[in-house]
């Protein structure tokens, strides 16, 4: 059995009296692809942020372990240096820089000598050659999503966390996104948070459903999507 790369033990995060994440025990194995779904406010993004140390100062309890090392109190940059790539819910890119410059900043931290080659490789892989020297602020939303995924790829991570990668992406771009995620999954474990059930089905991954800060159910796409509780709280009874 492959190694567990991410594990949370009884993880809770609360803001005032409201538990955004409530006693979550979660584990992800090496090169596993996992989708997190759930209604708005279910705690998916908070869970995401707590794994990556972005909630320093929030009231929390429990443990986050990455490759067996407890990182619960680590600052974000230190957790990222373990080899993790993150795409945030709202595209978080350097708007005043070109695509190449964005990617260079990502590649040069982990691999300064090969940064230029990595940038060329990522630009080609995402077919961004024609716009590579344009400022990111001039790009459409879908292109900015791609740039952010490029930033994640340029870091050569072994664990990738993607928060709503399909948001604002057109049908054709979605096919491409699925192919990119599969490509990443050849070398890295992935957690993908998304609302788009069509996209989640396309990924053919194991699914974890969040509701009210806790894990409601976990399993294969078919079993989860046919689960009565999931239909009740999230999908609605018309969903198939």
């Amino acid at each position: 059995m492959s190694e567990v790369v991410v594990e949370t033990r009884d993880l809770s995060v609360h803001f005032g009296g409201v538990f955004a994440v409530n006693g979550v025990n979660f584990s992800l194995r090496e090169r596993e692809l996992r989708c997190l779904i759930g209604p708005n406010g279910a705690g998916k993004s908070t869970f995401f942020k707590s794994i990556t140390g972005q909630l320093q100062g929030a009231e929390s309890s429990g443990q986050v372990l990455i490759r067996g090392e407890e990182v619960t109190t680590w600052p974000t940059y230190r957790i990222m240096r373990l080899g993790i790539g993150v795409k945030t819910q709202v595209p978080s890119v350097m708007n005043g820089l070109t695509i190449e410059e964005n990617l260079w900043l990502s590649a040069s931290r982990t691999n300064p000598d090969a940064a230029d080659a990595i940038v060329e490789e990522i630009v080609a892989e995402l077919t961004l050659q024609s716009i590579a020297r344009r400022q990111v602020r001039e790009l459409a939303h879908g292109q900015r999503q791609l740039v952010e995924i490029g930033l994640v790829l340029a870091n050569k991570p072994w664990l990738v966390l993607l928060d709503e990668p399909a948001a604002g992406v057109t049908g054709q771009e979605m096919q491409r996104l699925v192919a990119i995620i599969r490509r990443i999954n050849r070398t890295a474990a992935l957690i993908v948070v998304d609302h788009d059930m069509h996209f989640v089905r396309m990924l053919e991954a194991r699914i974890t459903v969040f509701n009210q800060g806790a894990i409601l159910v976990e399993g294969s796409a078919d079993s989860v999507l046919n689960d009565v509780r999931v239909r009740e709280v999230y999908l609605g009874n018309r969903a198939r």
């Binding site: 974000t76 350097m94 190449e100 040069s108």
Partner: protein, 349 residues
């Protein structure tokens, strides 16, 4: 993409050589007292311009490091005598103080607004403290702090190792120009390094840089300290120029002025803040010679006009105008060529 494809931070050597040549030849055509002061102010503005324009850190109390540099030089030169050590201390002390304050702010995740307030308060505290240091009790070694009257008559800059050979007048102008050009090259070197590019990334998106694994608080602290050191150097040079240091080096006016110089010259450039300092510094000196209009009113009016008419400042506006002019020339050349070809065709028919 080559690394130079990262278009920020490249130096235009031809411009640099022309500008340096101009500064070197200036004493042939002018007295050097005012240009020396303007070059000191330019260095001070450069130190804030680097930090604000490229790392996105706006300090409302940058005069604190300028003043610390001036006081450190004055106090150390009284105690040490030979000026090399005091000059080094005048860079080191503000640098260390900036590093401590910067580390507290950046590791403490203080937001930009509070950062501005804290830096301002530090300057005010130093100003008030130095004003209250009259009397014999306030003495560091041989140096009396002197309260409101400050520290006069300290040993000025000398040739390294030669305390009796003092540097003033035109030679001092060249020392200041060398420091200014050195500061500029240092800033360019920083911006062309991975460190400088990371700072630009932080200016653009701090969270993203952290998610890429950059230690953002450490990088911000480092640039804050470096710019504090540069401001300290400017302060020490100012002390040598004025031959007296008073608490006014920590004044709110001093902090506000340097911000105005940077805005007017152009945030996000290195040349802009220096241009702003020279232009507004010259104006300030000219206005200081008359009594009919209040100096601050004119400077305030200029700031409002610049923000309204050239919001990005002089240097970026000049680059944009030059770009448009070149485009227009290219278009005219193309249009002339097309007309000639048409005429040739008609003649052939």
């Amino acid at each position: 993409m080559t690394r130079s494809g990262f278009g920020i931070g490249r130096i235009r050597w031809n411009w640099f050589a022309a500008f340096s040549g101009l500064l070197v030849l200036l004493p042939l055509a002018s007295e050097t007292n005012t240009p020396t002061l303007l070059a000191i102010w330019a260095l001070f503005a450069l130190s804030l311009g680097l930090m604000w324009g490229y790392a996105g850190i706006l300090s409302f109390g940058h005069a604190a490091y300028f003043g610390l540099g001036a006081y450190t030089y004055a106090i150390a030169s009284f105690n040490i005598g030979e000026s090399t050590g005091p000059l080094c201390l005048a860079i080191l002390v503000p640098m260390v103080v900036a590093a401590i304050i910067g580390a507290m702010m950046f590791y403490g995740r203080i937001s930009d607004v509070y950062l501005g307030v804290i830096t301002l308060v530090v300057t005010l505290i130093l100003n008030r403290f130095m004003n209250a240091t009259a009397g014999d009790a306030y003495r560091i070694g041989n140096a009396r702090l002197g309260g409101f009257n400050g520290i006069p008559a300290f040993p000025i800059l000398n040739l390294p190792g030669e305390p009796d050979v003092q540097i003033f007048g035109t030679p001092y102008y060249y020392v200041v120009v060398a420091c200014l050009l050195g500061g500029y090259l240092l800033a360019r070197f920083i911006l062309s390094s991975s460190f400088g590019r990371a700072l630009i990334g932080i200016r653009e998106n701090e969270l993203r840089m952290e998610l890429l694994g950059y230690n953002v608080p450490a990088l911000k602290t480092a640039i804050f300290a470096i710019c504090g050191g540069l401001a300290g150097l400017a302060g020490a040079l100012f002390a040598n120029w004025a031959e007296i240091v008073t608490p006014s080096v920590f004044s709110l006016g001093q902090s506000a002025e340097v911000i105005i110089w940077v805005i007017v010259g152009g945030v996000g450039t290195l040349v802009g803040p220096m241009i702003g300092a020279v232009l507004l510094g010259t104006l300030k000196i000219m206005l200081g010679m008359q009594t009919s209009i209040d100096n601050s009113l004119v400077l305030g009016a200029i700031l409002i006009l610049v923000v309204l008419l050239i919001p990005r400042g002089f240097a970026p506006a000049f680059v944009a105008w030059r770009g448009r002019l070149l485009q227009l020339q290219a278009y005219r050349r193309h249009a002339r060529g097309t007309t000639r070809r048409r005429l040739h065709l008609k003649e052939a028919e």
